[in-house]
Amino acid sequence: MGNKQTVFTHEQLEAYQDCTFFTRKEIMRLFYRYQDLAPQLVPLDYTTCPDVKVPYELIGSMPELKDNPFRQRIAQVFSEDGDGHMTLDNFLDMFSVMSEMAPRDLKAYYAFKIYDFNNDDYICAWDLEQTVTKLTRGELSAEEVSLVCEKVLDEADGDHDGRLSLEDFQNMILRAPDFLSTFHIRI
């Protein structure tokens, strides 16, 4: 791989390689995907570390995310200020965690944050209701939804405090070996 690209300095690219699970080629490919989202906004020269944020509406319109029921939460969790507008760093971070090389604990941590709608470090009954509603798109009645939330808390709440902490969530993920392959967005 020659140093033909002029987007990043050598150190920047090395740093990205060290901090994400991507190779140099994939990082460049991701950069061009990011740039395609907003060609006028994103400069082709990142050597000066410009402070550019692509608004959430464009991120949410990516083909990999546009039909995902949790796309807004994903963008919010990985963006800098929690509003869904992402810099290139956030963008690379997001796809690095969602790639197949990320370890289970890292994915579990971010999945927990995605399902934690009110950002209080716990998945409470309200968060669960939001999750179930997004997953079933109004097919279930309100009574069924609350029954589901009750059952989930019954099954997964280890210390019986009425909500799921990160440890409960990670413990539950250990029993679901499919999690690694389903919490994966291919780009």
Binding site: D18, P69, T136
Partner: protein, 688 residues
Amino acid sequence: MLSDDHVNEIIIQKLIASLIPMTSRDRIKAIRNQPRTMEEKRNLSRGGLTITTEDEGRAKAHLTWWKIVDKEKSKQTHHILQLNCCIQCLNSISRAYRRSKNSLSEILNSISLWQKTLKIIGGKFGTSVLSYFNFLRWLLKFNIFSFILNFSFIIIPQFTVAEKNTLQFTGLEFFTGVGYFRDTVMYYGFYTNSTIQHGNSGASYNMQLAYIFTIGACLTTCFFSLLFSMATYFRNNFINPHIYSGGITKLIFCWDFTVTQEKAVKLKQKNLSTEIRENLSELRQENSKLTFNQLLTRFSAYMVAWVVSTGVAIACCAAVYYLAEYNLEFLKTHSNPGAVLLLPFVVSCINLAVPCIYSTFRLVERYEMPRHEVYVLLIRNIFLKISIIGILCYYWLNTVALSGEECWETLIGQDIYRLLLMDFVFSLVNSFLGEFLRRIIGMQLITSLGLQEFDIARNVLELIYAQTLVWIGIFFCPLLPFIQMIMLFIMFYSKNISLMMNFQPPSKAWRASQMMTFFIFLLFFPSFTGVLCTLAITIWRLKPSADCGPFRGLPLFIHSIYSWIDTLSTRPGYLWVVWIYRNLIGSVHFFFILTLIVLIITYLYWQIAEGRKIMIRLLHEQIINEGKDKMFLIEKLIKLQDMEKKANPSSLVLERREVEVSLEAALGTPGTRDLRFRRSVQEGNPRA
């Protein structure tokens, strides 16, 4: 009261302290696994970290790797300084190695097959159907490797001394494998048994040894690769098998993020709602006890079904065996070129029809959990396929090999080639014709049926069956991996096209990881070990044919190794090889001691695992107790506060959340952030 920033600073300091003693490779891995933003990770990896604290006007604390290392250096004496230089040399070497590994993985990724196609399949059908295609791609790698090995070490040398092929070529050879192909590198019989020597340079190439060692190396690599994959899958998927896995929690939290197509997502949401409803209704249903009569009927239904299915399998095997013998007699007298295709045709028909018969048993048997139904069907199909391969191997090794035919190894190779080809043709016809017809029926004629769903288990079993045949056939037909490569390639595209046209996404959750673990285990246990047994019997017990192949004239195949060891023992430079052979490989005592050691280690590990299970259970109970304690203390604190508030209305009252936080800080129980750091440090620590 500790501020957030202060807590963060302490955590980062602890993190850096834990990262210093690590090697740079482990450090990179630990930083990469940290759930932090890119900026923080970059700062950590660069080694420069600016921590600003606002309270009490503290000055910026500036930690760098080099500063710490320098501090350490100045304390050391001279010769340890030299050691540090060595360590720095090693660091730069490891950095260069890491960079070369990165570029190698880049190259491998760029030639990774079918990435885009797999993304489209996953986008429409989800992870479960994707697992079949991943399995196909993984098997393709085995065949590519075997082919490269065979090609380099036995086919190319054979080409250099190839005799002219005097037979005629008609188109039928592609199907029957006889005729022109008999005298090509395709079959065992064509290979020379001489030591190839070109020119007077003296570099000689012993074809006998090359043949047996290449095949051995192929199979050994496959063995270790299978073992390694199986162990990885077991480790990832069977962490806590004895704890009952909650049904509905997994449905909620394991949404398939790979599904990206709009219609597929909507369908998946609908299917998920149905599954959740079913799950809820299972709860609400009382656990009805069956009467004795009902139990008896059910049990007898199971018995009858099992007896019938086993009977059908045994009947098929007997039919195949007698047909094979009859075919052999028939071919001796008549010479109809198409008649050799009868046996493969019948075997493929059995493989197609009998699983359908097995799935009709579902109407008679009733299982409580649909999962049990899937397993029972799977076991019956596996038994059928393995017994057919078993009976064919018995026929080949007992009848064909001892029949006194001129070149029995080539005959076996041709048989395997025909079986494989017929299986492939049937699979293509099924994809293009059968599934297409099913779609027409489902959409136009009987619209209540709808589109069919991709039967992952059946297709994976077909792949395993084909791969078993390839492994058996490698010895008799060295070009077989190449043929299987082409077949897998074509099959990927045909299955893909048929999938897109004729199938709908799966409606039920399919435990892809556990099933894949089971299938890889299946590939290892009856399939590969059966192949090893067959080849062991061939090499150690059968007499090679007298005038064809690399082992012609020897009393047993293994005698080539014996004579090689004998020639080596006359040369002084290679006596160590002879020693290893005589005392390690050929000695019974060595294997006895080795087995004993392996059994002892297994027993110890088993006991350790049992102890850990007990530990997990105790810790789980402890978590529950701690939670109860926390609730109790919080209630008490709030009650006390209420009492105090009633007594003194103007005193400060903490919110419940603040009570929790201060309780955590006081008790030293970890909050979310601290645990995050703790776990990442554990992950980052180099494994012994």
